[in-house]
């Protein structure tokens, strides 16, 4: 009598409850079945301002607020749709042409279906985020319609129907419903509801069902500036692509199915990792996987199999007889594929004749020697788990442009050469070849199918003429994903209302003074580079009665102005860091804070966060404390000014004396760090001098090192370490710290071997201490720069330092290898680094100045912050360097100088020379030496390259050489760069 019936059948509500079954595979390869309930309802509005029926049932939140309708009552029309229309794109449309939807000239009143949003999220998170951004924009009028939850538009999956077919059907059903629903409004002009898709099958079915549907191209053609927009529509498999005309010819092997890859990885037969392209050889890539101590090599187009730098790929290791040494040859894409025709893809196979020749030589070389000990495992890409495609800056390869397309407006294929040399040429179809030649342009990659040697992409927008400052700067910012748009109003609204008139409150009773120490009486000063406006830090020192010294490091109190989780904080956390280019600074925080209210400018009172120590004259820490404070800096020195004061014995004022005290203490501190094994590493640093009026670069100088620089550095390190300890004590799980991993010893194999062979020097890499010591012994008495050269090369073998959340690592992993410190964080530059701002908040909570804000205590959230700022930090560095490289090129423009340089890398057909004076390195190929290209013998054992014939030279690794430096515009990359000509070897 009491059987347990399946309850759903007996339930009157059952009609409106459905369930969805998902199958998900976990990281470990298990498959999970997830059943989710779905409650179907009829109160989900269509959100058209025309519809009164929906207005009555509009949903309200807990405080009774309703969401106003989004879609306009009089949407724009087109030639074929005079009554106006609402657009309903399918997933495919967003995936392939998100740029179109972000246009200002068209694409308003768009219905984003829930199923589309879901699919998009699964396929591409960045695109999903962009679409969410659009739905939040008030003027674009994008409305998310939850079709899966509305009773009338819910579509159960049929037996034997694929998920894709079901989802397409759901889209069509929603479009049909919208059409019927809007008719009921009885409005005079009922807008048409248009489905947008690039999927032929879906379009055909729509037609059969009587649903109005256009392909992206057919729709765009109806718009006013359709011509221009047409270029933004990518080629798709289903579109009228080139592939239709050339059936059957497939260059690449098919990818494995996801499940095959998963099984393979689980059983250890396949490996997963990030694909990296060699900077010197576009046909060679490598991938690090846990199963092998050395990186796996991936050689040649077939094995690279359509992966692009940064993609997450799955590889299969090749049999041992195919293992090879890493290439010793430079192979550049533009030199080899120069004359390929983007339209016809001439040549019978994947590997062109020239490529084959280049690779042949490579193989000959490896076979001629017994290389068994050196051979590295090689692998082949069998699938891509996640593409790392983004938008790329490049320019059209002039040689790929046909004469006819220069004139006419017919659609034509051209190659775009990305600025980033690691990215392959992209084939682009455009109607505006004539306008785009000679411009910096932004393009994306859409697809790379088996039938195409190069990936295909579409044009996004033009940045301007090549080599104009505006275009090149924007190109650089886009390339490194630097957020450079002006701060939105919501961010500026978070600034203090007083603006530049803001002052430290005069009354000590003011809440701003709560728990702040009054340090205005101290002789504090700041020391920074010339012209520094965002002064993060200031210092003071004063003798104590017991013979010890009180030292204070005072840091701008940014966390006082930037409250957690407001719009300004969110923006700063996304930007992550201020980016410094040669002629431009892209701030993390609005100017008002960065250069005024937070900046510890001289002669005015400012809020600060102070670290105070009692130090013995030998710089041993006796006491230390942290406090929020109010300070008044006495003076803002440049490094040079401060150095002059210190050196000038006649200056005996208090400020100078305290700088001298700090100087002496900093030497002790530095010695202590060195004794602990801190590394003194090097990277070539130069400064571009600009003419003050036109801000054109006129000269390049290497940065001079002053004692005052290391003075500031030492105390900042001390402050950072002290703060790191404190916040780790208070928040063992969530403290935001910075670590520098110990590099695997194999990273130094090559360098150690080179030093042994060429200079008979040994490099010990067992610990940072051993490395520091042996780097000290790497000297060439006749060549003072040799030691710096080795340090530069050693630096490149290191790991990158990274921010992390204390709870994610075991304590021994906290170590900062380079600084030889057990624990470290960033605290001293909150104006320009977000990590420091978080550390400020954590320290403020640790000293009970304020309660802990959830944002700085939630580990998941902090991990996301770390992940982002690590990327931003790296991009900022790369952008800065690229900017210097660009300006060095500009400064050298039209000039010709001879400089000394050093050989830092050697190949069988060229070598890389570093010129310390300009901090630049450049490749000199054999064919640059003489015409015709001289014959060369390369001895990989002794790193020697000797040429015969048209020119006779002998070049060795580490050798000092004389080179002629000129500027040249690289016709293929469109970059003005430095060109080096070999003059002689010393």
């Amino acid at each position: 009598m009491a059987s347990l019936k399946r309850s759903v059948e007996s339930d009157p509500l059952a009609a409106s409850i459905s369930s969805k079954v998902y199958v998900r595979s976990t990281k470990s390869g298990k498959v999970q079945k997830i059943v989710r309930e779905v409650y179907l309802r009829q109160d989900i509005p269509c959100s058209s301002k025309l519809c009164h029926a929906c207005a009555a049932t509009t949903p309200r939140d807990a405080s009774g607020r309703a969401i106003p309708p989004v879609l306009s009552e009089a949407p724009a029309g087109t030639k074929l749709l005079p009554h106006g229309h609402y657009l309903v794109p399918d997933t495919n449309a967003f995936l392939s042409a998100m740029d179109l939807f972000e246009q200002e000239s068209a694409f308003y009143d768009v219905v984003v279906l829930q199923i589309v949003l879901e699919e998009l999220k699964n396929r591409s998170l960045p695109l999903y985020n962009r679409l969410i951004g659009l739905t939040k924009s008030e003027d674009k009028r994008f409305y998310v319609f939850f079709n899966e939850f509305r009773l009338e538009t819910h579509v159960p999956r049929l037996d034997g129907e694929t998920v894709n077919d079901r989802n397409d059907r759901a889209v069509r059903k929603a479009v049909a419903w919208y059409g019927k629903h809007l008719k009921q409004t009885k409005a005079k002009k009922v807008p048409a509801v248009v489905m947008l898709s690039n999927d032929r099958d879906n379009l055909r079915k729509a037609k059969d069902e009587g649903i109005l549907a256009y392909s992206l191209a057919d729709y765009v053609k109806q718009l006013k500036d359709g011509e221009r927009l047409l270029d933004m529509i990518p080629e798709t498999e289903d579109g009228e692509s080139v592939k239709d005309r050339r059936p059957g010819q497939l260059f690449y092997d098919e990818y494995y199915s996801m499940s095959k890859m998963m099984t393979g990885i689980k059983s250890g037969l396949l490996h997963q990792g990030t694909f990296n392209v060699s900077p010197y050889n576009y046909l060679e890539g490598s991938i690090r996987v846990p199963a092998f101590p050395k990186a796996l090599l991936i050689l040649g187009r077939e094995n690279i199999n359509r992966s692009v730098d940064g993609d997450l790929v799955v590889v299969q290791v090749l049999p041992k007889d195919q293992w090879k040494e890493p290439s010793t040859q430079v192979i550049e894409e533009d030199a080899i594929t120069k004359n390929e025709n983007p339209d016809t893809e001439e040549g019978s196979g994947l590997v062109s004749e020239k490529e084959r020749k280049a690779l042949q030589e490579e193989v000959k070389r490896t076979h001629s020697k017994t290389t068994e000990g050196h051979a590295q495992p090689t692998a082949k890409v069998v699938g891509v788990i996640k593409r790392n495609w983004r938008q790329y800056v490049g320019h059209i390869d002039q040689s790929s442009v046909s004469q006819s397309s220069q004139q006419g407006r017919k659609q034509d294929s051209v190659f775009v050469v990305p600025m980033d040399k690691k990215i392959p040429k992209i084939r682009l179809r455009t109607r505006q070849v004539a306008e785009l030649v000679g411009k910096r342009i932004l393009v994306t990659i859409d697809a790379w199918d088996r039938g195409s040697r190069h990936p295909t992409g579409h044009f996004v927008r033009s940045l301007g003429e090549l080599e104009t400052k505006a275009a090149e700067t924007e190109a650089l910012l886009l390339e490194y994903d630097v957020q450079y748009r002006p701060f939105p109003k919501t961010v500026l609204d978070c600034l203090p209302k007083e603006g530049h008139d803001w002052k430290v409150p005069t009354s000590i009773e003011d809440p701003g003074w709560r728990d702040r120490e009054d340090l205005r009486g101290l002789g504090i000063c700041s020391i920074d580079p010339i012209g520094c406006q965002d002064i993060d830090d200031a210092l003071h020192a004063r003798p104590l009665e017991n013979g010890n010294i009180e030292v204070g490091v005072h840091i701008a109190d940014v966390s006082h102005f930037v409250r957690p989780n407001n719009a300004m904080d969110t923006e700063a956390s996304i930007r992550g860091t201020t980016v410094y280019l040669v002629d431009k600074r892209i701030d993390m925080l609005p100017m008002l804070l960065g250069t005024d209210l937070c900046s510890l400018k001289p002669y005015v009172e400012r809020f600060a966060f102070s670290v105070l120590w009692e130090l013995t004259p030998e710089a041993d820490v006796i006491n230390m404390r942290f406090t929020k404070s109010v300070i008044k800096s006495r003076e803002a020195f440049s490094y040079e000014q401060a150095q002059l004061r210190v050196d000038d014995a006649s200056q005996q004022d208090d400020l100078t004396k305290s700088i001298r005290t700090l100087m002496s203490l900093s030497r002790h501190l530095k010695q202590k760090r060195m004794d602990a094994g801190a590394l003194s590493l090097s990277s070539p640093e130069v400064k571009v001098q600009m003419e003050s009026e036109t801000s054109d670069p006129i000269d390049v100088k290497t940065k001079q090192h002053l004692d005052t620089m290391s003075l500031v550095e030492e105390f900042m390190l001390l402050a950072n370490v002290s703060v790191a300890r404190k916040i780790y004590d208070a928040f063992p799980q969530t403290a935001l710290l910075r670590r520098h991993g110990e590099p695997p010893a194999t990273n130094f194999d090559e360098l150690a071997n080179q030093l042994r062979v060429k200079k008979n020097l040994t490099l010990h890499v067992d610990s940072s201490r051993a490395l520091a010591d042996s780097l000290d012994t790497c000297v060439d008495p006749s060549e003072p720069f040799f030691n710096t050269l080795i340090r530069i090369m050693a630096t490149r073998c290191m790991m990158a330092a990274e921010y992390f959340c204390a709870g994610t690592q075991a304590y021994p992993e906290f170590r900062h290898y380079g600084l030889a410190s057990e624990i470290y964080t960033h605290f001293t530059s909150p104006i320009r680094r977000y990590a420091d701002l978080v550390a400020h908040r954590q320290l403020a909570a640790a000293i009970d100045y304020e309660p802990v804000h959830p944002a700085v205590r939630s580990r998941g959230r902090l991990e996301a912050v770390c992940k982002n700022i690590n990327v931003r930090h790296r991009n900022a560095q790369l952008a800065g360097r690229a900017s210097i490289a660009y300006y060095v090129g500009q400064a050298l423009r039209g000039r010709e100088t001879e400089e000394d340089g050093f050989v830092m890398k050697i190949f069988s057909n060229g070598f890389v020379v570093l010129v310390p004076r300009f901090g630049i390195e450049s490749l000199i190929r054999l064919r640059d030496l003489a015409e015709p290209e001289p014959e060369a013998t390369f001895d990989a054992e002794t790193y020697t390259l000797e040429t015969k014939g048209s020119r006779e030279v002998k070049v060795e690794l580490f050798q000092k050489v004389r080179v002629k430096v000129t500027d040249q515009k690289d016709e293929t990359t469109g970059k003005r760069g430095v060109r080096m000509e070999f003059v002689k070897a010393y």
Binding site: Y22, E37, R60, L117, S858, G860
Partner: protein
Amino acid sequence: MPLDTSAYSLALLRVDGRRWNELRRVHAQIRTQAAADGSSYLEMGHTKVMCVVTGPSEPGARRGGTTGGAGGGGNNAAEVSVTVVVAGFSSVDRKRRGRGDKRNLELQSTISNALAASLHTHLYPHSTISISLHVLSQDGSLLAALINAATLACVDAGIPMTDYVVACTAGSTSTYAANDEDADPLLDLNHQEEQELPSLTVATLGATDRVAVLVCESRVQASRLEGMLAVGVDGCKQVREILDRVVRDKGRKMVSEGTVERGIGLESMDLD
């Protein structure tokens, strides 16, 4: 995979299509096992639990679980002993939980204390009421479902009680870290919501505002707690209505089938 809980603000719809103040479908049955003293089966969405009550019985004849948390207690009142068995197939990851599992022990003692507050245990000194709960499927709000099922089974067993102990969960539409002042409170969380959002379980004594259980294991701003609690208590009232109907329907059916004589006990209930 469906969208996550952050999509709520787009159209005020939750991951399964509900509004902020809606319960999932609750389906319940009592007297599912004729042989038991009291039994019930309850579904809240896809969370499915079964309950069997044995007793009150004298200590010598003590049957059922020995491990459970025991409420009431003392020699002058019956001991409420609860065991929870979580079937391995009940959750997606199919992990088996042992008898001594910490979470289980905590569930048991919470349920035991909650029921002991309503059951008139003083009528049964020196005896034990054994409540045995089986979790067949988990999709969030597990504790709430267990309490509701146990209440029904106790009603079926005819143990006198002050009122139903009814429970449900409440949450908030934005995470703790987001610290969104405008977050809506949520009623009756499913598994995905429980994973992503702050939540609490509240049980009340019948339709009153007397809170019998309040468990909050996630971090949430105190300012949001009040709204969550209010929604939770309101949800409990709805749950009570549903459970009460189940009991009455069953009673009516048993009378009409002649299983039970129209008697004193049932007369006080509205049978039409």
